[in-house]
């Protein structure tokens, strides 16, 4: 990095358009950030490219995969067998993680958590919701999943098996929700529009459709 670029970055580390936090820990984070940028470890341009990439991922990615699986049985079989490779087939650039897709059926409901730290399939779902990172969700979904799901409006009969997936290690999960009835003949775009973030995490079960 040349001196000019360095000065340029120095001037840009402070961005008055954005409200700065005043908690001690957040200020510590900002201080670290400015030190690392000023020392040339990374640039503001790199930071902004990284943030744009992170903001570019959204549940629409997951929804496209679901719509593809709903309309192509062979693809669905590959997706459930080897999630990562089937997802790459559709051109998604995954973080370096194994990917596993869990299918909801009439008799099985899947839900995802990371009790230890909040691992989340960000490349396919975008930023995780605040509740996913909360201690109450992480603590309770493994022990009383039905009660927590009821708080989300998902009420399951005892005839449905609940499978909680604690994503503690190197894998990332996504739920394949059930295709709503009354959607025969719908295009993949129409189907993808029905798929919500929460249905991909498993805190929503029923999706809209032509009821």
């Amino acid at each position: 990095m040349t001196d000019n670029e360095h000065e340029h970055d120095h001037a840009r580390t402070f961005q008055p358009d954005h409200v700065e936090p005043t908690s001690e820990a957040a200020r510590l984070g900002l201080a670290l950030r400015e030190l690392l940028i000023e020392a040339g470890h990374y640039s503001v341009d790199e930071e902004q490219a990284m943030i744009a990439a992170m903001q570019g991922a959204s549940p629409e990615n997951g929804a496209k995969i679901v719509a593809h699986a709903w309309t192509n049985d062979d693809y669905k079989a590959r997706l459930l067998d080897d999630g990562a490779n089937a997802i790459r087939e559709l051109g998604f650039d995954l973080e370096p993680y194994e990917f596993t897709v869990m299918e909801n059926t009439k008799t099985v409901h899947n839900v995802i958590v990371c009790t230890l730290c909040s691992c989340y399939p960000r490349s396919l779902l975008g930023m995780s919701p605040a509740w996913y990172k909360s201690s109450n969700y992480r603590a309770r979904i493994v022990r009383e999943p039905r009660a927590v799901l009821a708080e989300f409006g998902v009420n399951l009969s005892d005839g449905v098996e609940v499978r909680v997936h604690d994503s503690t290690a190197e894998l990332r999960y996504m739920v394949l929700p059930e295709r709503p009835t009354g959607t025969d003949g719908w295009s993949q775009e129409q189907l993808a529009a029905l798929v919500t973030r929460d249905s991909l995490i498993g805190t929503q079960r029923e999706l809209g459709g032509d009821k």
Binding site: F14, Q15, P16, H18, V19, E20, P21, T22, S23, A25, A26, R27, L28, G29, L30, A31, L32, R33, E34, L35, L36, A39, H41, Y42, E46, E47, M50, I51, M54, Q55, V113, T115, L116, C117, S118, M127, P129, A130, W131, K133, S134, S135, N136, Y137, R138, A139, R140, V142, R143, V148, E151, F152, D166
Partner: protein, 108 residues
């Protein structure tokens, strides 16, 4: 059930209702997130596990009171101080500078 080794190991604890309010990241939270990812990409930290280790070593009261990205900031700071990538003096000086800047901002 075995003892938890850190304040992060919450699975199975009791707790209140899940707060379902949506919260978009503030810009500084994106900046912390990007900083950690770039620190990894540039080799300042060796693995995400190193960040997690730092979070798991937080005092339980800190863990419970800090927000998600505040924990990241604390953990990354302790890792970079330990590795010598930054010094305590540099960090203290920068924190003071930000505090002064924020005072001027808030009074203007």
């Amino acid at each position: 059930m075995s003892e938890a080794w850190g304040p992060h190991d919450v699975g199975g604890r009791t707790g209140g209702p899940v707060d379902l309010a949506e919260h978009d990241n503030a810009y500084w939270e994106w900046q912390i997130d990007a900083m950690v990812r770039l620190a990894l990409a540039k080799g300042l930290i060796t693995d995400f596990a190193e960040l997690r280790h730092g979070i798991e070593r937080l005092a339980p009261t800190d863990y419970d009171e800090l927000s998600y990205y505040e924990r990241w900031a604390k953990s990354l700071a302790s890792t970079l101080l330990a590795s010598g990538a930054i010094t305590q003096d540099e960090l203290d000086g920068k924190i003071d500078a930000i505090r002064r800047r924020q005072k001027i901002e808030s009074s203007s």
